[in-house]
């Protein structure tokens, strides 16, 4: 197992995809937040109306905005990396080299997901730290207890979003296609947005973490969050089972 994890870590840490996705999620969210704050400070009424609670120039406003943007950016960024991690083996043909090894394909698939999770933790820490630095730089002062809790929810949102993208790995495996997996990522984002707009709210696992993080923890019950945690669990089993039974028959 250790060999498979080391191999997958080697690939992700040397890839442009991993680097660009990290920058897109972390720097992208921070840049957007900075832009929104500057626009609101300049008195742009349209922007103030659009961003709602994020228009308030306090820690609360900043973190509401951060949760709102992260909910979309994280699933998109994580999904694309996962699509690449799994889909590339089929697109580049390297899947043939992952047979007839002392490391089983189940372990290789699991190693990919473990490395992905570790990377998501790093992205979560970087994003949370970035928002903290931005808030301090904007003059909101040192974070109090409520702000620290909201920062914790932001970190949890990043990890939960990473989990919600795990079905993408399954789509990549079943379709043997990187592009189909990218398509699945976009579909997840759209589903989360449409579900939230349609009023499915916290009972839609794709939307629950975002609603929870954006509402100071009131927007989703622990049962609803548990459903969101179930998604990566179920799909990790599905991915490992698919890799275990994999045949190169098409």
């Amino acid at each position: 197992m250790r060999a498979a994890i080391r191999a997958e870590a080697l690939k992700l840490t040397h890839s442009l995809v991993g680097l660009i996705a990290t920058l897109a999620i972390v720097a992208g969210v921070i840049a957007l937040l900075g832009g929104i704050t500057a626009g609101v400070a300049a008195g742009n009424p349209e922007l103030v109306a659009k961003v709602g609670p994020a228009a308030v120039p306090t820690w609360g406003g900043l973190l509401a905005g951060a949760a709102q943007i992260t909910a979309v950016a994280a699933i998109l960024g994580f999904g694309i990396v996962l699509a690449w991690m799994f889909g590339r083996e089929f697109a580049e043909g390297t899947i043939t080299g992952l047979f007839a090894l002392p490391v089983s394909r189940t372990r290789i698939a699991l190693a990919k997901l473990i490395v992905y999770l570790l990377w998501a933790v790093v992205v979560g820490i970087a994003l949370t730290a970035g928002v903290l630095v931005l808030g301090v730089a904007l003059g909101y002062g040192l974070p109090g207890i409520d702000t620290r809790a909201a920062l914790g929810r932001l970190f949890a949102l990043v990890l939960l979003s990473a989990g919600l993208a795990v079905p993408v790995a399954w789509v990549a495996t079943l379709s043997r296609s990187l592009l189909a997996a990218v398509g699945a990522t976009v579909a997840l984002v759209v589903l989360a947005q449409v579900g939230a707009l349609a009023g499915a709210g916290g009972w839609l696992p794709l939307a629950a973490p975002a609603l929870w993080a954006m509402s100071n923890g009131a927007g989703a019950t622990s049962m609803q969050l548990a459903l969101a945690v179930l998604v990566p669990g179920v799909f990790t089993v599905a991915v490992c089972a698919s890799w275990s039974r994999l045949q190169l028959d098409r």
């Binding site: 080391r6 080697l10 043909g93 045949q247």
Partner: protein, 242 residues
Amino acid sequence: MSDVLEFENVSRTFRGGAGVTDATFVIEPGEIVALIGLNGAGKTTLMRLALGMLRPQAGTVNVLGVPADEASSAQWARVGALIEVPLAYPELTVRKNLHLAALLHGATSERAQNAIGTWQLAPVADRRFRHLSLGNRQRVGLASAMQHDPSLILLDEPSNALDPASVIRLREELIRRARAGASILVSSHHLDEVARIADRVLLMNAGRLIGSLDTSGQDLERAFFDRIREDDERRQGTQATR
């Protein structure tokens, strides 16, 4: 000694009829067996069956004495293969790719350093795989498939894109490994090359093994095409009588 690779009445066909039908053969320790046939004859499918990439619809494939789907990690650690695409990633250097392959084959990373020497990859060892020529990519693939000293080696068209010096290197390497006891199955289009190294040459046509080719004759190409034509005529005759 027991057979290292054994096919017993193995069939695996795809929609449209292509694939492998009723294949039976064995490869013993220290033997180099070549598999030759036209494009689409089923050579790659047969190799995929040997490596567990496909499961047979009928018959059994035994690898190192056990059915392929029951082979343990220790048994797979004794297998090396290059089928179609090398186990190498474009973002990694040659050295890192060989290190990765050694890890996945349960070997130490010192093997990677030895393989760089064996396959004369030192000038490109720190170059990313994506920047290599086709020939160098193939050499990395061969190094990756054999650096862990496997007992069973399967190579699909291993001399593809290789320059003459590398073809000689490959030939010497395969002969050396066979003398050390490895069993080797190689598919190839190059009849002369195959005749130089193979102990036996298996002929494949339309998904079936149709016998061996005597490589001691003068005109190998003619002998090859005669056998293929005879098989085609026999099959057409059989179909016509149905």
